[in-house]
């Protein structure tokens, strides 16, 4: 099965709403795209349509949170980061437990093009003191990450995809915040992926295997706090780390990993993703091929990295 993580989020939120009356949801005229509409239909009295005014939505969410509610504030990742100062002051600094939901991550959204692509959100959210930053890779992980956010009494950010993601985790999988997951073992390098690139990285691992390169593949679903212990262990045991994400390489998951590597066990790191570029319109799969975020591209880039001295 494959499902967009935004849809898995919407379904989970509608379920959680039954158990927890404190959950309230806000959207800024994108509920049909963020999938918060699934909650809105079920609990209209706990859903606040804020119109195309994301700053106000974030501020209202902060007020609701400070008054004891559990708000999920939803929009496209790129529009939320545009309201960064409100997130910084009214949510983070005010210690208001707002759950921020940024959908339409990366070039994976395809045809709508750069203006709708969240490509800098991880960098910005990561820079806010105390912000938990999550990016699940499949339906099950999304479900559990959203449940964690609802239960956690603090502010957090989750990054979700427009496109479908194949199932990666087995039914007995248990999401643990801040703990990376080793999906395949290997000794020649570690490929660390997050969200949409996890499935591609796993496939890339198989391609590399055929070339005699044994890649360890790790799912970094929590970008902050980064799993420093696991990063250090991978650095030590595989000697090289290749990170891949559908995000600018500046400040994203790769940066978080590189920082951890430098501070624990310095080894060569290659960050792969959008190379300090904006996105563009196109078929999502064609874009992943063009920007080498698909399995073939990742395998190519990772192989070149391993062969470097």
């Amino acid at each position: 099965m494959a499902k967009a993580s935004r849809l898995a989020f919407g379904e989970t939120l509608a379920e959680l709403g039954e158990k927890d009356e404190k959950i309230v949801v806000l959207d800024a005229d994108l509920s049909k795209s963020t999938m918060s509409i699934l909650f809105a239909k079920k609990f209209p009295d706990r859903f606040f349509e804020c119109g195309i005014a994301e700053s106000n939505m974030v501020g209202i969410a902060a007020g609701l949170a400070l008054a004891g509610k559990k708000p999920f504030a939803c929009s496209f990742a790129c529009f939320l980061t545009g309201r960064y100062e409100t997130i910084r002051m009214s949510v983070a600094y005010s210690n208001a437990p707002v759950r921020i939901v940024g959908t339409h991550a990366g070039i994976g959204i395809g045809e709508d093009g750069n203006s709708q692509m969240g490509l800098e959100d991880l960098a910005l959210m990561r820079a806010l003191p105390g912000m938990i930053v999550l990016q699940p890779c499949d339906e099950l992980e999304t479900k559990q990450a959203v449940t964690f956010m609802a239960e956690h009494n603090g502010y957090s950010y989750i990054r979700l995809t427009r496109q479908k993601l194949p199932d990666i985790n087995s039914p007995d999988y248990r999401f643990q915040v801040g703990k990376g997951v080793v999906l395949a073992d290997g000794k020649d390098l570690t490929i660390m992926a997050t969200g949409s690139t996890v499935a591609e990285a796993l496939e890339a691992g198989k391609v590399l295997q055929e070339k005699g390169i044994r890649a360890r593949v790790v799912n970094i679903h929590t970008i902050k706090p980064i799993d420093k212990d696991l990063v250090a262990r991978c650095a030590k045991e595989t000697g090289r780390i290749f990170t891949v994400e559908d995000h600018n390489i500046m400040g994203g998951m790769g940066s978080a990993v590189a920082e951890a590597v430098c501070e624990t066990h310095p080894v060569p790191v290659r960050r792969w993703g959008l190379l300090d570029k904006f996105g563009e319109s196109g078929d999502p799969e064609e874009l992943y091929a063009k920007y080498e975020l698909d399995a073939a591209g990742i395998a190519r880039q990772a192989a070149a990295f391993v062969q470097e001295k």
Partner: protein
Amino acid sequence: MPEIAELKEIAGKIRIDVIRMLAEAGSGHPGGSLSAADLVTALLFAVMRHNPKRHDWPHRDRFILSKGHAIPVWYAALAEAGYFPREDLLTLRKTGSPLQGHPDRNRMPCLEACTGSLGQGLSVALGMALASKMGGSPFRVYCLMGDGETQEGQVWEAAMASPKFKADTLCAILDYNKAQIDGYVKDVMPLEPIKDKWVSFGWHVIPINGHDFEQILGALKEAAETKNQPTLILADTVKGKGVSFMENVVDWHGKAPNAEEAAKALAELGAN
């Protein structure tokens, strides 16, 4: 409810504390603190339901100081009400003090939000007002805004949303003192016709003299009785009110009085 004479006396004490605090700190914002002194006095000492011994009482009315730079006036009012010892006021802006230069609820939990980046308070207040209408605890939410800060776009997003949500537990108060850092509001970025703007957005607007306690109390009562729509009290005020050489002088927006100026101001305010 205290007599008006009593409120005037409290407001006088608060103004004196503001001058003392700023002089001791050596920086801060006297103009907008003094213009709001009567408004916050009426709120905290005659209108709001609150408990200085239990700042986290869930049914308390909420106060959001959207114009966060005027926080000295609120600190002075909180100390007068018994939230913390008055001598703490003189730690304003000092390293390690809970009295940060702009409101910080992490260091002072009786503050409802962190503000100081202008234009955000009304949205937060609206969120609290929505929570108050969701049952259980119909507290009221007061949001004090500066005039200059309503140049921020987010204010108008909140201005549009509050009537949509029929946020009648929300009362915004605009401290219309007509000056901001770079000059007079009318020159920096004109706001008039202010009343018409808020009325057209769907607010119940009550224009008053923001230094007349009868009018302030009357407007706050009218706001509480107004149903199905939010209220904006448009308070005509004087920047630097109470200190002759600060009144309506733009430069006193954001500079502290030196020792000599402070002594002169305190004498005018009748400090012992």
